[in-house]
Amino acid sequence: MSEAPIQEKVEAQAIDNLEPDFDGEFPIVIEGLRNSFGEQVVHEGLDLKVKRGEVLGVVGGSGSGKSVLMRSIIGLQVPDQGTIEVFGRNIADESAREDMAIRSRWGVLFQGGALFSTLTVGENVEVPLKQFYPELDPELMHEIARYKVVLSGLPADAASKYPAELSGGMKKRAGLARALALDPELLFLDEPTAGLDPIGAARFDELTRNLADTLGLTVFLITHDLDTLYAICDRVAVIADKKVIAVGTIPELLKSDHPWIQEYFNGPRGRAVQARPEHGKSMDSQGQTGE
């Protein structure tokens, strides 16, 4: 076998120092986070720990800073104060190279999908592969792109379509395929079911849960959707008053007497979801109609 030349070639092409080891229990640890835009303070003294392997739902009123929190964690928003550790590394003060290492281990799905509009769905999935693993055989990259597209619940022939040819729900799935391209350990989903019809939303929830279980993902999921919380989240973090006021399973949160939490879970919509017999960790949520 001509093992050595191939091995050498691959090693020469690879980006070195890409894989930091992390075995801790909490992939994301946020302490004393403060974010502000001018005079307006969005977060003040926010603490949050995300457990390995859980699906954490993040809820909060509009403008409570859910998306800003996600942007802070993935390094798009530089916080005023506080530390954010992702995989045990403070993302605010790492060198660019180590940033690359962390970036290769998370996937982000933005609200609108944020697909590159000049590339087909398949090419979109290949972008992170080319960026982080240039040593992979081009044929392997094509194959990865193909099965990731199907894995994300898209029909196989969607791989050759441009984002403009896709519906809103398909764009989200395509965005998910790109987020999953690197087999990340950590997946950020920003309102994945917003703008989807109830059936599509339920399918997307199911897909997220399945993928999380199969691939062993830790999911940071921002949502407004009570059905999503009940269907797939292990724990829920509630953001209000500029901080995380409570984290726990839904039964635990229901015991809280914070007015916002009471309003949220026991308001008309919250009661409607609770009243359903099959709420909880049901995987056959296709029958559910939302809202």
Partner: protein, 369 residues
């Protein structure tokens, strides 16, 4: 250094066995995948009992190889089997790019498409011009629908805010004409004709033409980009459903602004270019500033001013028309906005220059030479 996935060949119970070792992850699979692709030989069994962590890419590589060799996979732990199953279910051989035909077919096809598109484009643009005129006439019947605020706002954007850059440009062009003209005319002692050259050229041709090019670049492009973005965000559709005609609310104010502002800007430009000429003449040709300006009145016939002023609104119409037309044609994605904006500017400048040539011949023929 990364620990790469590797393999070794063994003979187990009379069957050729490929034993995979190391972590089967996207970050470690690069070498193994290439080696397996180049693998010549045959294996019956793939043994995964000695691998470390597995992800879907590792599972895919193993699955792909086992399909090729028709080999059995043994020793996969729970996670690995789960991934193998998931990847197996997601197998697809779909293309990643839309189908493309052969070059020999594509070239005539593309040429044909351009010709047809040009035909339809010209027809649609004429239709759009007609639509603008009809909407404009409708305003005379219902003057209350005239959007004076929007029009004034466009006056500001197209006209007032362009004053500085057009003024500066014209002043410099005046300097160049006078200076270069004088250099040539001096050769036969006729540098006094620099005044004729600068005056007539500025008033009749360059003032309006350069202004048109500048307005096409500044305002034509912004018309196309604004309307295009509004089309993308469905603002235009929203207007229609509320009963507001986009033609009246968006297109007409812009076209009117371009038509009204062009003669004003053109005249202003001609004036500043004469001042530029006078300035350089007083510096280098010893023609006093005031003499230069006084001579202009004598050597530039009044019809030159008319020629410039007649052309200007027509050019403004062309710029407004192409900008708004291209903007309203945007569909699909943000890339289209850029393409249409470019097209609007290129078309506007091209049409302006073509029309200018026609005007030049026409006015000479009618005796305004």
């Amino acid at each position: 250094m990364r620990e790469w996935a590797a393999y070794s060949l063994e003979e187990k119970a009379g069957r050729a066995t490929l034993v995979v070792t190391g972590p089967l992850l996207i970050s470690t699979i690069g070498a193994l995948d290439r080696e397996l692709r180049a693998f010549e030989g045959h294996v019956d069994v793939i043994d995964l009992s000695r691998v470390g962590a597995v992800d879907t890419v590792g599972a895919w590589t193993v699955l792909h190889f086992s399909r090729e060799q028709d080999a059995e996979i043994v020793g996969a732990d729970r996670q690995a089997s789960r991934l193998l199953k998931a990847v197996e279910a997601a197998r697809s051989s779909a293309a990643l790019l839309p189908p493309r035909s052969r070059l020999t077919l594509r070239v005539p096809e593309t040429v044909g498409k351009y010709v047809v598109e040009f035909g339809y484009g010209s027809r649609d643009m004429l239709g759009f011009a007609g639509h603008i005129m009809v909407s404009g006439l409708a305003l005379f019947i219902h003057p209350s629908r005239f959007r004076s605020k929007a029009v004034v706002r466009q006056f500001e954007l197209v006209g007032v805010s362009a004053l500085f850059i057009i003024g500066l440009m014209s002043f410099l062009i005046g300097i160049v004409i006078a200076q270069q003209g004088a250099a040539q005319l001096q050769q036969f002692g006729a540098e006094i004709y620099t005044i004729n050259l600068t005056g007539r050229l500025s008033v009749r041709e360059l003032g309006v033409l350069m202004t048109a090019i500048m307005v096409a670049g500044r305002s034509g492009s912004s018309f196309a980009a604004q309307l295009g973005t509004m089309k993308l965000t469905e603002e235009v559709d929203a207007m229609r459903t509320i009963g507001v005609s986009p033609m009246e609310a968006l297109v007409l104010p812009r076209v009117i602004a371009a038509v009204v502002m062009m003669p004003l800007l053109g005249f202003y430009s001609a004036g500043l270019s004469i001042i530029g000429g006078a300035f350089i003449a007083s510096l280098t040709l010893n023609i006093p500033f005031h003499t230069f300006l006084a001579r202009i009145q004598e050597v530039v016939p009044l019809y030159d001013v008319w020629v410039g002023l007649i052309k200007a609104p027509v050019f403004g119409m062309i710029i407004g028309l192409t900008g708004c037309y291209q903007g309203m044609q945007v569909e699909g994605n943000s890339e289209e906005v850029g393409l249409r904006t470019t097209l609007a500017v290129v078309q506007a400048i091209f049409l302006v220059i073509v029309l200018d040539a026609f005007f030049a011949v026409f006015f000479t023929e009618v005796g305004w030479g």
